[in-house]
């Protein structure tokens, strides 16, 4: 379990990193290393060049002076999980981050890293899709481009990120009054890859009627999936049974490769529980 030989460059600036990515065709960005290094040690990934961005303090920052929160790619999962400001601004992300591996993994793993890795069983990609976040991708050739999270994830471990691009920032809408969130992950053990998982945001008006629902699933396809449809419950005062009907409807068309009957049942349960949690929180004074 030793990696194949590779070259290593520690970037001093974003520009430095972008230059290295532009100049080396099969370079890989090293941030927290929680997925990449395992793949390299198993020799399943064999980049000829590692561009280490771990020293770029500029990407380890959070800005929250607008309706949106701007989170740097190097912000660690543990900070998303425990930082009081982030917990208040993006509680869904904080709840989801607590399910990522174990504390040691969360201390090192980064937001940019998990999004770029694009694992459909990962927590924060699902959260970003559910929140309607925007990813900022930078390259030396084309500067910055903004890609909505829903369009960022293309397939298993495949994103819109080009080989010469670095994911630098993520823009996330902050939690609003009247909005509740729910996150449910079903796993064999705490910290394992999810058998099923769901994230949900439910917003209620002052009469308790639903005016917005966004909900998504992990481990339910090639990418994190936004499953809430326009046929939803907008305008209704939703009872518990209604959320179960919606969860059933929104998981009915999914395709699962392994044990589909059970996988669908789990997805439905996770989604119903996440929606119910979100609605309960939205209704709480």
């Amino acid at each position: 379990m030793k990696p194949a030989p590779f070259e290593y460059l520690r970037a001093d600036s974003v520009a430095d990193a972008l230059a290295a990515l532009a100049e080396h065709e099969d370079a890989k960005v090293l941030a927290g290393g929680q997925s990449l290094l395992t793949l390299m040690n198993l020799r399943l990934a064999r980049p000829s060049m590692l561009v280490d961005i771990g020293g770029l303090a500029e990407l380890d920052r959070v800005f929250s002076d607008s309706d949106d929160v701007l989170i740097g790619a190097l912000v660690r999962h543990r900070r998303v999980e425990t930082d009081p400001e982030l917990r208040a601004l993006v509680p869904l992300a904080a709840a989801a981050a607590a399910h990522i591996g174990h504390v040691g993994i969360r201390n090192r793993g980064t937001l940019g890293g998990t999004l770029a890795h694009a694992d459909p069983a990962a927590e924060l990609p699902l959260v970003m899709v559910t929140l309607g976040a925007t990813c900022y991708l930078e390259s030396r050739a084309d500067g910055v481009r903004a890609v909505p999270a829903e369009q960022f994830f293309l397939s298993y471990y495949t994103s819109a990120l080009r080989p010469d691009e670095l994911l630098t920032w993520v823009r996330v809408p902050r939690s609003r009054a009247g909005q509740g969130w729910g996150f449910v992950e079903l796993a064999r053990r705490h910290g394992d890859f999810a058998m099923a998982g769901a994230a949900a945001l439910v917003s209620l008006d002052s009469f308790g009627r639903v005016y917005e629902v966004r909900a998504g699933l992990m481990s339910a396809g090639e990418t994190p999936l936004l499953v809430s449809g326009p046929d939803g419950v907008v305008g209704e005062v939703a009872a518990a049974r209604r959320w179960d009907e919606l969860a059933a409807g929104w998981t009915a068309g999914l395709e699962f490769s392994e044990d589909p009957e059970y996988a669908r049942a789990l997805a439905r349960v996770a989604l119903r529980r996440a929606l119910t949690e979100a609605a309960t929180r939205a209704a709480a004074p």
Binding site: M1, K2, P3, A4, P5, L42, R43, L186, R188, R189, H190, G191, D192, F193, M195, D259, Y262, A265, L266, V269
Partner: protein, 777 residues
């Protein structure tokens, strides 16, 4: 007050907690060569060629050796255990030696089988070269299911053997057919236990170097059985015993997978000797999942007949053990499974038949319990099945069948593996079971149900019986050092069990001193020339009594010497001081151990006497039996099938406990491994033989979050079978977990569970299929 029986703090912990342990990977210096093994990627194939030319040409590579290169240096691995002829005759025991080569030469039998080895200046360079070894295979059909392997139509794993039957065993007691014919109820079922294993924190590893001055190879290996490794190494290489020293450094867990002899333990010393250079091999986790011995993997076809009151009339089991490509412990696993099918119950009519089969999967050794958990699962699940049909509770059917004080000791009518007729030497098995129930009363269940309204909460019990302290012997040594301290050694090797602490406690009592004055060395062929090792819940019994006996003989000799020094006819050691045997002896002086040591030193009064150094072989008359009862409360999420063990109790008839805290730790750790096997762990293979569990992300070990509080009730029941009165307890925590957890899940979801691991998908299907039945009892 004696030291035995005290929860003395573990002496070894300070060094481990401070990071000062010395494991195989800590040995050697910068000059050591690093070995990497090239392993088969195919489950079954003829080896057409192994081209190492590109690998040899890599920078930093010192040598690359194939099976053909080394076949002359090391023959096939020898079997580690054969049963006593008396047992073999009584059970019609037969087995086949798979004669697994150290490195594959002309065929490969499982993915992970070593077929070549690369030596380089570091592990990175060795791995770079290893991937350049070009292996050409001609694939053959593989078989991965033991029952299929025993069918005539199956591909044959070892073509040389012509079939896949690795061994067989069978016996009958009483008149099963007549008993069953008169039964009120007969239940038949097939039970399966999945393949899983030890997966210790530290993987395997071997370091070998040559002591050129003595022309001797010194081998440090992460093993539970250094003496058996030494014996096997000498046997397959033809080296003399004096050519080799084998020692276990600190070992980070064994649980049976390291009570084995491996190709790497032969090849690394062979290369060290051939090159005259130190060679290190440290197994990584990926290799461990492919090549370290696995366990369990049994299927039991059972038939249990009971009367209307639930009393057992007859019990039949026909089982199959999957040994993968082979096992050095075929006899142990088959015999353990067969014998432990009897359980702690009144049983007069029994028919057992078992077979072991070769398949194209990784080799198998004894994993904590080694046949006992599988036998326990079949019998206990069978009792639950019968109870359900009769409308009895799990508890009641057991009450009606357990052996009581009036039944014990109990002769079964069958010899044990050592040829001695089995006599269960317990106290009161029914009382132990009731103690377990008392410790986990129904009221507790009500509380847990209220605490977890989202879960269906079920209750399960299971009993086990285990033969512990298997012989034939263990070596013990006690020596008085020149400074008055003691050195104690045994053939056992500690893989974390705390032998430093417990053997010092035993010695301290026998010598009348504080344990701090006793140094313990074990797991080293230089410390005692001969020994067996640590496995099968045997070290407290065998090594404990061996050290006790050696110390007592040392005291006897010392008393004679002290009498000479003091000018007395008879001297006794009392509270660590040598005194006249008869009070009132005029003008009698006293002598301490330190003073006695001084008289034996050069220029001392007894300088011409041989040193006080006693080595004994302790031979127990036969095994001693530990019985226990487990109770589990499991919460089931019926919508997902996910299970959580909420509470656990073990009551056991341990004997004298040398260190109750260490016994407690053994039980709790054993429960953790049992929960892993019951709910989480499985080495999975595709139908064509490719392993599907290659990392700790696929193979799920129980974590702290999976562990319930565990309460242990020790019913001290010293045995007369050995002077210390100890019984083994190393496997007590594990054996009955599978059955108890399955019973609790079954109680929660209302469907009979017949296989482990009890996966969420299995539970979900059981919960959706069956309506919730009324909970019996």
């Amino acid at each position: 007050m004696s030291w035995v029986g005290r929860s003395a703090p573990r002496r070894e912990d300070a060094q481990f907690l401070a990071g000062r342990g010395r494991f195989v990977a800590d040995l050697g210096d910068a000059g050591a060569l690093h070995a990497v093994f090239v392993r088969s990627t195919q489950p079954s194939a003829a080896l057409l060629g192994v081209d190492v030319s590109l690998a040899r040409a890599r920078p930093g590579v010192v040598g690359v050796y194939t099976g053909a290169d080394l076949a002359g240096d090391a023959g096939p691995l020898p079997t580690l255990h054969e049963p006593h002829p008396g047992f073999a005759a009584a059970t019609r025991f037969h087995m086949v030696d798979p004669a697994l080569p150290c490195l594959a030469v002309d065929e490969v039998l499982y993915v992970g089988q070593p077929l070549a080895v690369v030596l380089a200046h570091n592990r990175h360079l060795a791995e770079d070269a290893a991937e350049l070894v070009d292996v050409r295979y001609a694939d053959r059909a593989a078989v991965t299911d033991a029952t299929e392997a025993l069918a005539d139509s199956s591909p044959v794993v070892h073509e040389r053997l012509g079939g896949n039957e690795a061994g067989r065993i069978g016996f009958a007691l009483g008149d099963v057919d007549a008993a069953r014919a008169g039964a009120h109820l007969v239940v038949t079922e097939t039970y399966r236990m999945g393949r899983h294993g030890a997966v210790p924190l530290e993987c395997r590893g071997v370091f070998a170097s040559v002591d050129h001055r003595r022309d001797r190879v010194e081998v440090w290996t992460s093993t539970q059985i250094p003496h058996l490794v030494r014996d096997a190494l000498c046997r397959v290489t033809g080296w003399a015993t004096d050519d080799v020293r084998v020692a276990a450094p600190d070992v980070g867990g064994g649980f049976g997978t390291k009570a084995n002899v491996y190709p790497e333990e032969i090849i690394v010393p062979v290369l060290a000797r051939r090159l005259g250079l130190p060679v290190s091999w440290v197994e990584d986790r990926a290799e461990h999942f492919l090549a370290a011995a696995q366990g369990r993997d049994q299927v039991h076809h059972t038939r249990l007949a009971v009367d209307a009151a639930g009393r057992i009339l007859s019990w039949e089991d026909d089982f199959v053990v999957d040994l993968g490509a082979g096992s050095l412990w075929t006899a142990g696993i088959l015999a353990n499974t067969a014998v432990h099918l009897l359980g702690p119950y009144r049983m007069t009519n029994v028919r057992v038949h078992g077979r072991a089969a070769f398949t194209n999967k990784t080799v198998v050794a004894q994993y904590r319990g080694a046949g006992r958990p599988e036998a326990c699962f079949a019998l206990e699940r069978g009792l639950d099945h019968a109870a359900r049909e009769l409308g009895l509770s799990q508890e009641e059917i057991r009450r009606r069948n357990l052996l009581t004080a009036a039944d014990l000791p109990h002769r079964v009518g069958l010899p044990y593996r050592d040829g001695v007729p089995i006599e269960l030497d317990g106290g009161d098995y029914l009382a132990c079971f009731e103690a377990c129930l008392d410790a986990l009363p129904r009221a507790e269940l009500t509380r847990l149900r209220a605490e977890h309204p989202e879960l269906a909460v079920g209750y399960g019990v299971a009993n086990y019986l285990e033969a512990t302290g298997r012989g034939p012997y263990e070596t013990g040594r006690a020596r008085l050092g020149a400074g008055g301290r003691f050195a104690v050694a045994a053939g056992s090797a500690s893989a974390g069990q705390g032998h430093q602490t417990t053997l010092a406690q035993v010695a301290a009592d026998a010598l009348g001193v504080d344990p701090a004055e006793v140094d313990v060395v074990n797991g080293d062929t230089d410390a005692v020339a001969d020994g067996i090792g640590t496995f099968a819940s045997r070290s407290a019994v065998l090594a404990g009594n061996a050290v006790d006996q050696a110390c007592r003989e040392l005291v006897g000799r010392a008393e004679g010497l002290a009498a000479q020094v003091l000018g007395l006819s008879e001297v006794r050691l009392r509270a660590g001081v040598f005194k006249a045997a008869h009070t009132g002896t005029a003008a009698a002086g006293t002598l301490t151990w330190a003073e006695l040591a001084a008289t034996l030193a050069p220029r001392g009064a007894l300088a011409d006497e041989p040193p006080l150094d006693v080595t004994v072989r302790y031979r127990p008359p036969t095994v001693t039996w530990t019985m226990g009862a487990h109770a589990a409360v499991v919460g089931v999420d019926r919508e997902t099938g996910l299970c959580r063990v909420l509470h656990y109790v073990v009551a056991h008839e341990g004997g004298t406990e040398i260190n109750p805290m260490i016994v407690h730790g053994q039980i709790v750790g054993g429960v953790a491994q049992g929960i892993g096997g019951a709910l989480l762990e499985e080495f999975r293979y595709s139908a064509d033989g490719q392993p599907l569990t290659g990392s700790l992300a696929d193979y799920l070990l129980p974590e702290t979050t999976d562990m319930p509080p565990v309460r242990v009730v020790a019913r001290h029941t010293p045995t007369a079978a050995n002077p210390l009165g100890v019984r083994g307890a190393g496997e007590s925590g594990t054996i009955a977990v599978y059955a108890a957890v399955a019973a609790a899940v079954e109680d929660a979801v209302g469907a009979h569970l017949t296989a482990t691991p009890i996966t969420p998908a299995l539970v979900w299907r059981a919960a959706s299929r069956e309506p919730v039945s009324g909970r019996a009892g």
